[in-house]
Amino acid sequence: MIQGVLVLDIVNKLPAWQLAILATLLKGAVVLFVLLTLAGYAVYVERKVIARLQNRVGPNRAGPWGLLQPLADVLKLLTKEESYPPFVNKVLFLLAPAIIAITGLLGFAIVPIGDSPWLVISDLNLGLLFFLALSSLGVYSIVLAGWSSNSKYAVLGGLRATAQMISYELSMALSLLAVVLMAGSFQLSQIARAQSPVWFIFLQPIGFLVFLTAMVAESRRTPFDIPEAENEIVAGFHTEYSSMKFALFFLGEYMGIVLLSFIISIAYLGGWSGPFVSGPWWLFLKVAFFVFFFIWIRTTYPRLRYDHLMTLGWKYLLPLSILNLILTALLGLVFPSLVPHALR
């Protein structure tokens, strides 16, 4: 009790800028804890859902309904031997999983979960661009992993992943740009607020579909999982990885899924707004749906062939997203009432 008062006292004496940094750090710590748990349970949910869809039971040994399975997985990965294959380039080999985990986690810094400055770590003016920059830097992780592993499968996986992510990032960014055009801001909270009467999914159906497709490709999940196609190239770029470094890749992947679900919910589905009482719960519900969606299509669709993937990205999605952008701009010019938030 006395200690608590002491802490408050110290906090009160701090200058404003130190307080701001402290608050940000605290929010970051909370988000980090929640996310790491969430990522673990995303794996659990995935295994359970897939099992259900395939008429199996899924993990059910550790704890009631297998609920402790993520904990068991993490413990297993942590206690495994930290090994480097003899032929790898150690520095880059270690750097690669770190990059993907860092970019995945940093992305959440700009995600607002409610209509309050307390419900977001840092509501950047250029939030959407920050997200795009992080996702484009995430590619380095895969390139370096593939390269530094010094193995055939890893290099092939790295090459495929790089080509795929660069191709789909374009359509993703362009479809988001139409949203920015309508909202008149790159700030995620502004974008969410701009959808107060009508969600952008109704005004931007093409953009939504393009983003949805590009999103799945960006996270390298089935049916776009050719970078790690296990029956061709073992496990792609993380073939040589094990123990905690492998866990970081895993973490990065699930972080990516959750982050992309947040972004699509905020950019197209009105964020925290919903019927009855708006609030963070609506956002979580939407995110949960998209996480489920990721798992759902994983069990439904077969893997695309490499050339089909490139054709889809460059010949269909990219022109479609550009068309969508032009249409949005034109409609905005002709019917200004459609885009009340756009800058003029």
Binding site: V91, W147, L159
Partner: protein, 179 residues
């Protein structure tokens, strides 16, 4: 000298050193990493001048796309040939030391920038996205149009020089085109 000027000069120094190191790096992957550090330095310079938008575009376009393509090309080179060429092999640990140090300096610089932002030391002028758009599309519209022509020509030229007809005399080159 204001704090932002300090940030600017540190970032500029890192950018220049890293760019110089690109020229002298013996190893291709190493050179690319130096280039990456240099681009981040330039981005931080832009930020310290108030151009956050330009800074982030610098990262998205250059660091996120163009340099990745450089790495991509290095990876695409024939693996068998890489083993013979010393300058194409992955860099060793001492070789990575300098880019890491440069990157750390840059991170410290970023730390100062964060402090400056939190403490409210601003440059007094932030260049908004709207202002950039106005300048580009109103004042320099001819330049933008001409730039689009440059890109079109680049595309046509690359298409022409890179099209498959190049390999008509060596048939097997056409067959293992995919990866």
């Amino acid at each position: 000298m204001t704090l932002l000027a300090v940030i600017f000069y540190i970032a500029a120094a890192v950018a220049i050193l890293a760019t110089g190191a690109v020229l002298f790096a013996r190893n291709a992957v190493n050179a690319v990493l130096y280039l990456l550090v240099s681009l981040f330095g330039v981005a931080l310079m832009m930020y310290s001048l108030g151009g956050a938008f330009v800074a982030i575009l610098e990262i998205i376009v250059y660091a996120g796309a163009i340099v990745v393509l450089f790495l991509f090309v290095i990876m695409m080179l024939n693996i068998a040939r890489i083993e013979q060429h010393k300058d194409l092999q992955p860099p060793t640990r001492p070789q990575l030391l300098v880019p890491v140090i440069l990157a750390l300096v840059l991170m410290a610089d970023l730390g100062i920038a964060i402090y400056a932002a939190a403490a409210g030391v601003s440059s007094g002028k932030t260049i908004t996205v709207t202002a950039i758009g106005e300048t580009l599309y109103r004042q320099h519209y001819l330049g933008v149009e001409l730039a689009s022509l440059v890109l079109l020509i680049g595309l046509i030229g690359a298409l022409h020089l890179g099209s498959a007809a190049w390999f008509t005399h060596q048939k097997e080159a056409n067959q293992d085109g995919t990866c």
